[in-house]
């Protein structure tokens, strides 16, 4: 009975965009090292953090995601040399805009995580889940224009 009740508690929905070369491999390493993080995180593989169009993030929020995290190679280590630098600017501006329109800080995050950083990947995901869990369900982005 108590098991069932626990299952019903709010679990956030988290979308993670991971670049193929560093972060996705870092996630794989977290997996092969059995470094757990909540099942709330669902990873989408992209070639590079620079591939992540802000529209994907907004789309995820609109569709009900409670948090979106973008993971890429560390600055300087991008497999394609520069993709993460553009991503960094794009996301800085997007996050600032989301904050501006009143969306809670912390629903979005960028983390640089190398293929060797399985532990960091797991730690980041645990932290992020905890943060989103504490923020609760994302209503604002789905609700920004509520006129029917």
């Amino acid at each position: 009975m108590s098991m069932n009740e626990e299952k019903k508690e709010y679990r956030p929905l988290i979308v993670a965009f991971c670049c193929n070369w560093c972060s996705y491999a870092g996630a794989d390493l977290a997996g092969s090292s059995r470094l757990s993080y909540p099942a709330d995180v669902k990873i989408i593989r992209v070639p590079c953090s620079g591939r992540v169009n802000p529209m994907f993030i907004l789309r995820a929020f609109e569709r009900g995601a409670d948090g979106v995290i973008i993971c890429g190679c560390h600055p300087g280590d991008c497999h394609y040399s520069t993709g993460n630098y553009y991503a960094r600017r794009r996301m800085a501006l997007l996050f600032s805009m989301l904050e501006y329109i009143g969306v809670e800080n912390g629903r979005t995050r960028v983390e640089w995580c190398s293929a060797a950083e399985g532990a960091k990947f797991s730690k980041t995901m645990n932290e992020f889940c905890e943060k989103i869990q504490s923020l609760g369900e994302n209503v604002r982005l789905g609700d920004l224009r509520c006129k029917n």
């Binding site: 299952k7 929905l13 979308v15 193929n20 070369w21 560093c22 996705y24 491999a25 996630a27 794989d28 977290a30 997996g31 092969s32 059995r34 470094l35 757990s36 993080y37 099942a39 669902k42 990873i43 989408i44 593989r45 992209v46 070639p47 590079c48 620079g50 591939r51 992540v52 169009n53 802000p54 529209m55 994907f56 789309r59 995820a60 569709r63 009900g64 995601a65 190679c73 300087g76 280590d77 991008c78 497999h79 394609y80 040399s81 520069t82 993709g83 553009y86 991503a87 794009r90 190398s114 293929a115 060797a116 950083e117 797991s122």
Partner: protein
């Protein structure tokens, strides 16, 4: 509409223990497009693949979703499998339900639910997949080896012997690397130069090897099979063709006598002239002028070397030269150095000349070294009677600012070697080794260490030293605790030798960045797979050799060098390589011609042309983006920069990614 087959792998119990595989099959069966779903013990096995092929034929599948391990593991396998059944390999998507699901979750229900969602995302994506065709690119049959130490030398020789051209770029004036500084090697006590020098000469004389010493890699562009590398040949100030290597210039250089320039090769234990060869057996045997210290370059006066050179080889006007060479493969063999010991003030390395590093000890014991092989204290040139070795200085250290978290792997063995060599020459020396653990895995390694204890009576004490205190009488007091005896020890020593942690050559970060090869927290290059692809970088066409990849001794380095060479040979033996078909594509009807995408393309793959288009029945000439598919590497930077959505990436299209988002957020 696609006809999709979903195949769920148990991976033995790796997946099935946590994910209810049968349930996944049941739940995905009714997803749009799915006409077939099944599970199997090992999908990647031959029988598993056979099952896939049969299903493709029987159900006329047009797309496959494999729920299994990471696509980084077996995507290739399943693509090849699809191709065998006549299906375009790019109609396959892998849902990672092992590394990103079963292995990290414990709750079966939760893991199963997640596996279903990941499968749905992959199914949704496959619904939008289109057949893609790989292109071909030629292979430049020439390899570059960065670093001319034993790793680089061995790799180059092996590649060259297989009949391919190899260039070695070495930043020092001579090849040879760290090994050339050593006196003897463990566990057989071979003389290092006796086994290294012949290889250095062979490299120099090999018809297939070109040496760029005193040179550095400046820029790398291109991709596997087709790298363009700019090499800066630093001005040597000595004409290579004229110099006979007689060494007259070095002997006459006035700075050699004043002795103000510490010799890098002798780790500062000796001085060198401004025009010098690092060591007698240097290859090439052509000196360089150290322009920063040379009096002529500083004041315009002197010029002694030019005057006395019998072959008029000294050329003060020489300039740095940049050559651009094409390569098919690149091997990183940049080696190691030891860490800076400034943060270990307790060992008084900077305070006392009699506290030295092991590599300095190598020089002190080397017959060609600063003391002619006679072991003496640098402070008073007396032979030390009591010598203390301290192990693990900076190794196995949790604090990032001080040391390194890893075991340096070679110190236990070389310390045993040092102890024995000293005892061999000067039997009445007292030697104490303070260790944390003695680690000697390797053929004949533990026997070697035991010999030091049993035969040479080297005193091994378990306990890291706390402090080395220089004493008023010039000796050193070593303060430690013998953990096994439970006593604090204050031991007088004449000399203390620190086994400082190894670290990758500091220059490797810059090189890795140029090569876009990934690097770990400790600046060691990352291998494509820790077990199965240990000599390859995840970046295609980049290979790893020696300490640049991780701590290892000479035998291991040589084996890895050979392995890297085989991988390079395997690549160069191909005439053509298949190229990634996941490239950017421009919809000319949507393109504004605004150039935004070209600004962010790291490969210069986007150009603009005026093309004729028909838009709503109107014929117009428009400036639109064109993607050079041979150059495009598929990063997708252009797609997210494009304001109009004209740029898209095959295999990771906007629609495919948004549909995955939708599937996950459903």
């Amino acid at each position: 509409m696609q006809k999709i087959g979903v195949f769920v792998c148990h991976c033995g119990t790796n997946i099935a223990a946590t994910v209810d595989v049968k349930k996944v099959v049941e739940l995905v069966r009714y997803e749009p497009g799915v006409v077939f779903a099944d599970d199997y013990m090992y999908m990647c096995s031959e029988a598993g693949q056979e099952k896939i092929i049969e299903a493709i034929k029987e159900y006329g599948l047009t797309g496959l979703v494999i729920c299994s391990c990471s696509p980084r593991m077996h995507e290739k396998t399943f693509r090849a499998c699809a191709e065998k059944a006549g299906l375009n390999p790019y109609m396959v998507e892998v849902a990672n339900i092992r590394e990103q699901c079963s292995w990290i979750h414990k709750d079966r229900e939760e893991a199963t639910k997640k596996a279903v969602i990941l499968a749905r995302a992959a199914i949704a994506k496959v619904n939008l997949n289109t057949p893609l065709k790989e292109g071909e690119s030629p292979v430049t049959k020439r390899a570059l080896v960065i670093g001319g130490g034993i790793a680089g030398i061995q790799t180059a020789l092996d590649i060259a012997d297989a009949g391919y051209q190899v260039d070695i770029v070495e930043k020092e004036p001579s090849i040879g690397g760290r090994m050339s500084q050593f006196d003897k090697t463990f566990p057989t006590l071979d003389c290092a130069s006796c086994i290294l020098t012949p290889k250095m000469v062979e490299v120099n004389q090999h018809p297939n090897i070109t040496l760029y010493t005193y040179s550095e890699v400046e820029k790398v562009s291109g991709y596997v099979g087709n790298f363009d590398v700019d090499i800066r040949k630093k001005a040597r100030s000595v004409d290579f063709d004229k110099c006979t290597g007689c060494g007259e210039c070095s002997t006459k250089c006035p700075l050699g006598k004043i002795g103000k320039i510490p010799s890098e090769f002798d780790r500062g234990l000796k001085n060198r002239p401004a025009i010098y060869m690092p060591f007698a057996q240097a290859v090439p045997a052509v000196p360089v002028i150290d322009r920063e210290n040379c009096t002529y370059f500083k004041t315009g006066k002197c010029g002694v070397c030019a005057k006395i050179c019998p072959s008029k080889a000294v050329d003060y006007e020489q300039k740095d030269e940049i050559v651009t060479v094409k390569y098919g493969a690149i091997v990183v063999a940049t080696g190691f150095d030891i860490i800076n010991l400034d943060k270990f003030g307790e060992y008084a390395y900077n305070e006392s000349p009699d506290v030295i590093t092991s590599i300095e000890l190598e020089r002190l014991m080397n017959a060609a070294g600063p003391t002619g092989g006679h072991l003496e204290r640098m402070s008073d040139h007396k032979q030390p009677k009591d010598i203390v070795f301290i192990q693990c200085v900076g190794s196995r250290c949790d604090s990032e600012e001080k040391g390194k978290p890893y075991c340096s792997k070679v110190c236990c063995m070389y310390t045993a070697k040092h102890a024995m060599l000293i005892k061999d020459h000067w039997p009445d020396t007292n030697i104490t080794v303070f260790y944390i653990d003695v680690r000697t895995p390797g053929k004949n390694f533990d026997e070697f260490y035991r010999r030091a204890v049993e035969q040479y009576h080297v005193n091994y004490i378990k306990g890291q030293v706390g402090k080395v205190k220089p004493q008023p009488d010039g000796s050193l007091m070593v303060q430690a605790a013998d953990l096994l005896d439970g006593k604090q020890i204050n031991m007088k020593a004449d000399m203390v030798v620190l086994a400082a942690a190894v670290e990758p050559n500091p220059g490797v970060r810059k090189i890795a960045t140029m090569l876009t090869a990934s690097i770990d927290n400790n600046n060691f290059l990352t291998e494509a797979h820790a077990k199965l692809r240990p000599v390859e970088s995840p970046t295609a066409g980049i290979f790893l050799s020696g300490m640049a990849q991780g701590p290892k001794d000479i035998p291991e380095t040589v084996s890895q060098a050979g392995a890297a060479a085989v991988k390079v040979i395997g690549l160069l033996a191909k005439d053509k390589l298949k190229t990634n078909p996941c490239t950017a594509q421009c919809d000319t009807l949507l393109c504004n011609g605004c150039s935004t995408c070209a600004n962010v393309c790291p490969y210069g793959a986007i150009t603009y042309d005026d093309v004729q288009v028909m838009d709503h029945g109107l014929r117009e000439t428009r400036r639109v983006a064109q993607v050079n598919l041979a150059l495009c590497q598929g990063c997708g930077a252009c797609t997210s920069a494009c304001p109009s959505g004209a740029m898209d990436l095959q295999g990771f299209s906007n629609r495919q990614i948004t549909t995955e988002v939708d599937a996950i957020c459903r």
